[in-house]
Subunit: 567 residues, 2 copies
């Protein structure tokens, strides 16, 4: 039966505890949120020894069911000050699942005498390896050296120079099946939390993992096949996501005036076509080489919304190139060339920072007059400058809210300290309500509504749409599955049936949904104890005051309306 | 009868309202806190049009009673996010009082088309004068040009380059009787609020003010004389404050291990003697010239704790040189030379920033390794770099909390966003409790306890000492009098008698104390509405975790103990 692995960094010891009863259903965000609530004093310094860093997969992690191997990373966030979960694809959750590990809790921190270390987890247990020689290296080079040491089949979760400097927008990179270290738990500064514990990388090696005993293998395999058929029979999955990836979103947002352009001053980009999904697809096809329009970031994933974007010679420029990076590093900075955006994305990956907060911060710096919008050289310089500890780079790496504060910019698009993603809250109001009220801070993945067939600019019904989306995402995240799978399965009971076939349990969909609902409540409770209340459930003032000329709308929800989302 | 002058910046109009009944007793912080609570939406952006900037004197302002002409400036703070009042000496409150103006409310903001302006207030009314040519100038040069335009008898409240850049540690400088623009409402970023309204300076000219009609002139003059005699008969005032100024505090703090040294890592400074009160006094005397060991920052003040610190040639280096600057720009940065500190203080004044937050931020930058402790050149460069908008300078000008965040420094001495003053909360625990629980954020002037004859390192009784001090200071601040007067009058009833003799009223001491108590409650209510609650009533984690080796103590108050202060 799966267990929780607790690693005490101060003593360099570990212990494990088997999950029992309903706990077997807990995974992903449900688990990270509860561990943070139970073990982290809400008012602690997020970069001090009292914080915990938690890795958790879902109840199906370690299997080859499509899209069930997301890795949730959780902690108190140094960016938002609240409960944080940010999940990524890649192979780590799969490998932990294969080792029978549902979650890893890193507590306290390595001593200064230990210096930087790598924590290795394999079938034999946990080991702590000196890693001072890796410090200062970019994520790509770090990953390369770690693969040399641990074999190419290892799974890595690692940080870059941004994390090492405790920048509060530093993420944790997770390696994909080909070893690219670019699946990011990017939001909320979890890379800084990992660094504060003294850890440069976590290596997971499942090569000695025992073969799994399923409670009912035949049923499990049959259900797994059903999921695959379901994915392959879903038009939007096959014709949109598998072909255009998340970049397909750009047409949706640009059409309703919701694409962030030049620090959220417009919602339609005059160069949208150049950075849109068709151009992305056609460029990858035309250039060939290593390029791929579809790619699985997790073992077994059939959605394959990831891609590999090549340069003119067919060599990988970056993998993946996704919508949020295109929106934030692209149109929001006035940059309208995919090669430029891909390169900026690559540098963000290498430094180990969140593309969303960094793109938003660069645009704010441009609004402050540090460079004109569209200045790719400036953007590249500030991102790569993180490696040298350049002050402006550190500022940008501290995210849009801090950047706006220091540069005196009133129009700073952040909520609870975290940058908004590539959906203008004035134009896609359901997502706007999610930004304002999610315990995660400004975060589209907490409940995104752009694809609903509704009047996006109108207020009516949006509180309900956001509530549904937030509860739906809490369900998805608590099972450790990918949001892309959500739309591709007709009956969510199949997920529970899979879990039951795996463990011989008899969990119900209602129980899983209850866990998800409680997860939101747990996060909100932690936030309240940390001093983040419904007072903070609101958008930046300029979204209320300034009409977006392309949607002809403002963010116009009252305090009471926003309070009613979770009320 | 005194009135409130309301200036609507968007329309460039003004109106006045007479104070009636108990309102006549409202002044200083009591008035700014209430106006902020009544008129500012607590969740607004402090640098947006919904904030108000309020100037208020006390009920005795405009008279020549000793030490009664403090100017309170209030607003929602861009630094703490809460209700803010920061008061200064100088001549502006006196001149407003002479014009019958108890308070000025600046609402909304000048339009972009207006550009930077100066607001002039005189007996004829309010005028708005273009001032774009003054933008970018230091405070000293701005003041010089404003005196050229408005005559040397004008009173000025003005901002420097820091305010213009909306740096959240920008203060408002107020001119003293000799025209030195160096009495600072330094804390909480009020200079940025003034800038956000489009105002570079407020000029107050009382030359045409009518002669005041006292309700009972003879009684008033007799009481004024009594206050003077009381001040002159108080040993600590005459022998300590008038001779050594606030710098006398350095011996007190250094003796108990409470002087901040190298980013609050120690409490005793090995060069304390070189920057102590005796050295300060003897240097001023020995150098002569413009130097003065005592100086009145307000008309009529007999305490005269201010000074003029000259260079080796007897020319003014800075006026005044006070304890907080010596502690924060000096020992806390590892700088042990008064000339160096005086020069850094001068540059802070010229840029228009708070010496406390800037000194704390520079020390944090030193801890981050940007320069060694004691590097005066570095400190000077980052302060003066504000004029050029240098990024590191802007960061430092954003205060210690933001600086610590961007530079990844765990040991950041701030509470509610604001730097602690020159009293280590582990060593002078009453002040520590005040820092933690004051609605003003980390602020010694909200209730300082270093001179109490108690065991400073022990917890016992400190909650009560802090409570008494906070209530006492709210009383002092609400009357617009100087804290230095507090210890020099034996019977506070005399203050009420003065007010009654001035206005023909019959206010009681109990009424004044009730107003003060309510002022604290009003500030806390605003903060709660702004999202700042008792959760934020705590010290930075390192003060709980790390023993100060010179006091051999930590900050060890529980949440419940801190909650009991105002509870």
């Amino acid at each position: 039966m799966p267990h929780i692995l607790r690693i005490s960094l101060a003593s360099k010891t570990s212990a494990q505890r088997e999950l029992k009863g309903l706990e077997l259903l807990l995974g992903g965000r449900a688990l990270t949120a509860r561990i943070v609530q139970d073990e982290v004093p809400a008012t602690c310094n997020a970069l001090g020894r009292h914080n915990r860093l938690v890795f958790a997969g879902g109840a199906l992690a370690g299997t080859l069911v499509s899209s069930v191997n997301r890795l949730s990373i959780g902690a108190k966030s140094p960016l938002t000050g609240g409960s944080k979960e940010s999940n990524a694809g890649g192979v780590v959750a799969y490998k932990l699942g294969r080792l029978g590990i549902r979650a890893v809790i890193f507590e306290d921190r390595l001593s200064k005498e230990d210096g930087w270390m790598v924590v290795r987890i394999d079938a034999k247990g946990v080991s702590f390896l000196p890693a001072a020689d890796l410090a200062g290296l970019g994520v790509y080079e770090k990953a390369k050296r770690l693969f040399e040491r641990h074999g190419k089949d290892a799974g890595l979760a690692l940080i870059g120079p941004a994390g090492e400097q405790h920048l509060i927008c530093a993420g944790v990179a997770v390696t994909d099946p080909e070893g690219a270290p670019t699946r990011y738990s990017g939001r909320g500064g979890l890379g800084a939390v990992m660094a504060s514990k003294g850890i440069l990388a976590v290596v997971v090696d499942d090569s000695q993992a025992p073969k799994e005993e399923f409670a009912d293998r035949n049923t499990f395999m049959a259900l797994q096949k059903q999921v695959a058929e379901s994915v392959n029979a879903t038009p939007i999955t096959c014709e949109v996501f598998r072909k255009y990836g998340t970049a397909s979103m750009l047409n949706v947002t640009n059409n309703v005036g919701a694409l962030p352009v030049r620090n959220f001053s417009r919602g339609v980009f005059e160069r949208a076509r150049e950075i849109g999904p068709e151009t992305l697809h056609d460029t990858i096809v035309a250039r060939g080489g290593e390029g791929r329009v579809s790619h699985a970031c997790m073992r077994g994933c059939l959605v394959q919304c990831s891609n590999v974007y090549p340069d003119a010679n067919g060599h990988t420029l970056v993998t993946p190139l996704e919508y949020e990076a295109i929106g934030l590093l692209g149109s929001n900075c006035g940059i309208g060339d995919l090669d430029d955006i891909a390169r900026l994305n690559y540098y963000c990956n290498d430094m180990g920072v969140d593309t969303i907060d960094i793109g938003a911060a660069i645009a704010v710096a441009m609004e402050a007059g540090l460079a004109p919008f569209g200045d790719v050289g400036f953007a590249q310089k500030v991102i790569t400058g993180i490696a040298e500890g350049d002050i402006l780079s550190r500022l940008i790496g501290s995210g849009v809210e801090v950047t706006g504060k220091v540069l005196g910019v009133y129009r700073t698009p952040s909520i609870k300290g975290q940058a908004l993603a590539a959906y203008d809250p004035r134009a896609i109001k359901g997502t706007g309500v999610t930004y304002a009220t999610s315990p995660q801070g400004g975060d589209h993945t907490a409940g995104n509504t752009p694809r609903l067939q509704i009047k996006q600019h109108e207020k009516e019904g949006q509180v309900g749409h956001s509530r549904n989306a937030q509860q739906g995402m809490a369900f998805i995240d608590s099972l450790g599955i990918c949001m892309m799978l959500g739309g591709a399965i007709k009956d969510q009971n199949i997920l529970l049936s899979l879990i039951n076939a795996r463990f011989g349990s008899s969990f119900t969909l209602d129980e899983a949904k209850k866990i998800a609902m409680e997860t939101l409540a747990v996060e909100r409770k932690f936030n309240a104890e940390a001093g983040i209340s419904t007072v903070h459930d609101r958008a930046p003032e300029f979204f209320y005051e300034e009409v977006n000329p392309d949607s002809n709308s403002v963010f116009d929800f009252t305090v009471e309306e926003l309070a009613s989302v979770h009320g």
